[in-house]
């Protein structure tokens, strides 16, 4: 019984037939086949019966008084809407034109009089199959629509959560322009920017493999590492290492993140770049009009083990007004109708035709639209300009502690030796330690900048013996950093000593930073004679230190630097 029930469903069938005899005959045949029957003697009655009782199938005589079958079929189909109510025309008509009219009026099939019971049963069964198929399709369509709404809502919520995590970003800084679809996150595109304690700007443009949720989940930990480490003063290398090992640990083998990471230093007028698997970025020098490609030299993040990961960066000088332009592969991979890629050559033609640097974004978008006919939603672009440091206002860090346990009278000394100098950046730790002193927090930017300059001077000019005059021009600049990496790799001995001394003075206090190195020293008098400018590429460190701190002295032939900071009573 159960098997029969599942393959046979009793239907309610409307029979519209003006001949009472035919109607009775047909009714009894259909009833015998196990269906419930409704009857109508003309088209108008049929429409009315349909409206009131919604039968699942209609057997309709074509020729009837009051309203014929064609009109009744049209009206019933209109009332049924999306639901399939099969209509089988009962007809003694034989000319093909009349039969075609039955179908045109919305009929699904016809049955010639006199009735053959076997064929009638088979047609009802076939129509029932169609009816159920249609019902299933509609149900699935509605289900898909519901799931889609649900998914969109989930994406909205996920995006809102993500925006909270990424809230500390500085994408709204006046020197950043960017273009990104609001749902870029779900295309795997990620754009982050934040200030370091020294007022440098870190920018990351990333592109996770794949689409949708899998592409979005990796973004959260990546953003956390980026913001956390940038705020603490870590450099690109350490941040990259941490990002890579975190992604390697949490992502499945076939997922990774192509990324370009930048550090723009407004004080040193330079940009440090690491590109793993992203399309070329461009450094646009406004004065010369040249565009230097920032080419991918590394595998994407999350591919290599921490041991084999390569965090080497490149450094380029920049002048005020110069721009760095980064883009996602959505730009280059945009296809036209013939599956042709937009490609780098077309992009470079847009660059070449560009007159107004500020219009570049619009021109690229226009070129993509012209090429493809519509815009894609996975196109991400960002442009960062080098501006005077004073034009930017990095947000003041927020501290939550009360200051009751602030340490006011202490000193500490470190000696960092060769093996440590190679791979460890002590600055974030030193800065965190110093910012326990509340009086220093107001000048944390200057403090970090000075500490960073003292440390890199001691390391690069002292321990590594690099000549800063190399950095006079752009090519020397690149050579300088190549040489720095090579010498650091080969470093066997040497040290940088840091001594910090905090003493209370009345209501305020002072900090003395002393940094010594194992290098050859330099001609202090000559360097101190130079004017305090900020324009030359070389030797900016010393000049910066003198501008930012209250007092700066060099002794022991330049091997020892001593800098002081003061603070007054806290309000």
């Amino acid at each position: 019984m159960i098997a029969v029930q599942s393959s046979f469903e009793s239907l309610t069938i409307l029979i519209a037939e003006d001949s009472a005899a035919d109607r009775m005959l047909l009714s009894s045949i259909v009833r015998r086949q196990g269906h419930a029957v409704l009857t109508a003697a003309n088209g108008a009655e049929a429409v009315q019966a349909f409206e009131q009782q919604r039968p699942q199938l209609v057997l309709m005589d074509a020729m009837m008084p009051v309203m014929d079958g064609f009109e009744a079929a049209r009206q019933i189909k209109a009332l049924a809407g999306e639901t399939l109510v099969p209509i089988i025309f009962l007809t003694s008509l034989t000319e093909s034109e009349a039969l075609a009219r039955c179908l045109e009026a919305g009929g699904d099939d016809f049955l010639a009089k006199p009735y053959n019971q076997v064929i009638l049963a088979a047609k009802i069964k076939a129509m029932d199959r169609l009816r159920r198929l249609q019902a299933t399709v509609l149900e699935q369509r509605d289900q898909i629509a519901r799931h889609h709404d649900y998914l969109l809502n989930e994406q909205r919520v996920a995006k809102a959560v993500f925006d909270k995590v990424a809230h500390s970003g500085c994408l709204s800084a006046p020197n950043i322009r960017y273009l990104q679809s609001p749902y870029a996150l779900f295309n795997g595109d990620l754009l982050l920017a934040a200030f370091t304690p020294a007022g440098d700007m870190h920018v990351l443009l990333g592109d996770f493999t794949g689409h949708g949720l899998p592409a979005a989940v990796g973004a959260m930990p990546l953003a956390e590492v980026f913001y956390g480490m940038t705020a603490k003063g870590y450099g690109l290398s350490e941040t990259l290492r941490e990002m890579n090992s975190k992604l390697k640990r949490i992502l499945p083998v076939d997922m990774f993140c192509c990324a370009t990471l930048l550090c723009l230093s407004f004080q040193r007028r330079s940009v440090e770049v690491w590109n793993g698997g992203m399309p070329d970025g461009y450094l646009h020098s406004i004065a010369s009009g040249t565009r230097t490609p920032l080419t991918a030299r590394h595998l994407p993040l999350g591919v290599l083990s921490p041991q084999t990961f390569d965090d080497r960066t490149q450094v380029f000088p920049m002048a005020v007004g110069d721009r760095v332009f980064l883009l996602s592969d959505g730009v280059i991979d945009t296809c036209d109708a013939n599956d042709q890629l937009f490609g780098i050559e077309r992009l470079e033609r847009v660059f070449a035709a560009n007159q107004q640097p500020d219009a570049l974004f619009e021109e690229i978008e226009q070129a993509l639209r012209d090429f493809r006919g519509e815009a894609r939603d996975d196109v991400s672009m960002v442009e960062i300009s080098l501006v005077e440091a004073a034009q930017l206002s990095p947000p003041a860090p927020v501290y939550s502690d009360s200051g009751q346990s602030c340490p006011l009278d202490w000193s500490v000394s470190f000696e960092f030796r060769a093996a440590t100098l190679k791979r460890f950046n002590p600055l974030p730790y030193l800065l965190q330690l110093l910012l326990e002193v509340h009086g220093l927090r107001a000048q944390s930017g200057a403090l970090y900048s000075v500490l960073a300059e003292l440390y890199s001077n001691a390391l690069e000019h002292g321990v590594l013996g690099l000549d800063s005059s190399l950095k006079r021009d752009a090519s020397g600049f690149a050579r300088y950093y190549q040489e720095r990496n090579a010498r650091l790799d080969a470093l066997q001995d040497g040290y940088v000593r840091v001594n910090l001394q905090v003493s209370p003075k009345g209501e305020g206090g002072s900090l003395t930073i002393q940094v010594e190195d194992s290098g050859k020293g330099f001609d202090v008098a000559q360097v101190m004679d130079r004017p305090l400018d900020g324009v030359r590429l070389s030797g900016r460190g010393v000049s910066l230190i003198r501008q930012l701190s209250r007092e700066a002295r060099w002794s022991d032939d330049g091997r020892s630097a001593c800098v002081e900071f003061y603070w007054e009573a806290l309000a």
Binding site: D207, T209, F256, L299, L341
Partner: protein, 101 residues
């Protein structure tokens, strides 16, 4: 078949040839082409002669194969890639971990 495999006579080398777009649609076929081979081949060749395009999920699939073949000790050659495919391999720097010939 858009993913064709061929095992060398001694069973030590597996050649996987990709036809058409190498993207997520080939995920299943690509994995099946190497996953259940006994004995496990010692070296692998992915022949890209007829691959017209390669996207980032294909790069992910190559990483899966690399993992399967022994990770950093894997011996995998990517051969006969056309200029477009080569460009993608170059941008992603996959040349550093795959032997691109």
């Amino acid at each position: 078949m858009s993913v064709v495999t061929e095992v060398s006579q001694n069973g030590q080398k597996l050649t996987i040839s990709i036809k058409g777009r190498f993207d997520f649609a080939k995920h299943q076929e690509f994995r099946e082409s190497y996953e259940n081979l006994q004995p496990k081949p010692e070296s692998f060749e992915v022949n890209l002669r007829d691959a017209t395009y390669l996207d980032s999920s294909a790069l992910g699939m190559l990483l899966l194969l690399r993992d399967h073949a022994g990770g950093e000790n894997a011996e995998i050659r990517l051969t006969h890639a056309n200029a477009d495919v080569r460009k993608i391999l170059a941008i992603s720097n996959f040349e550093q971990i795959f032997d691109v010939a």
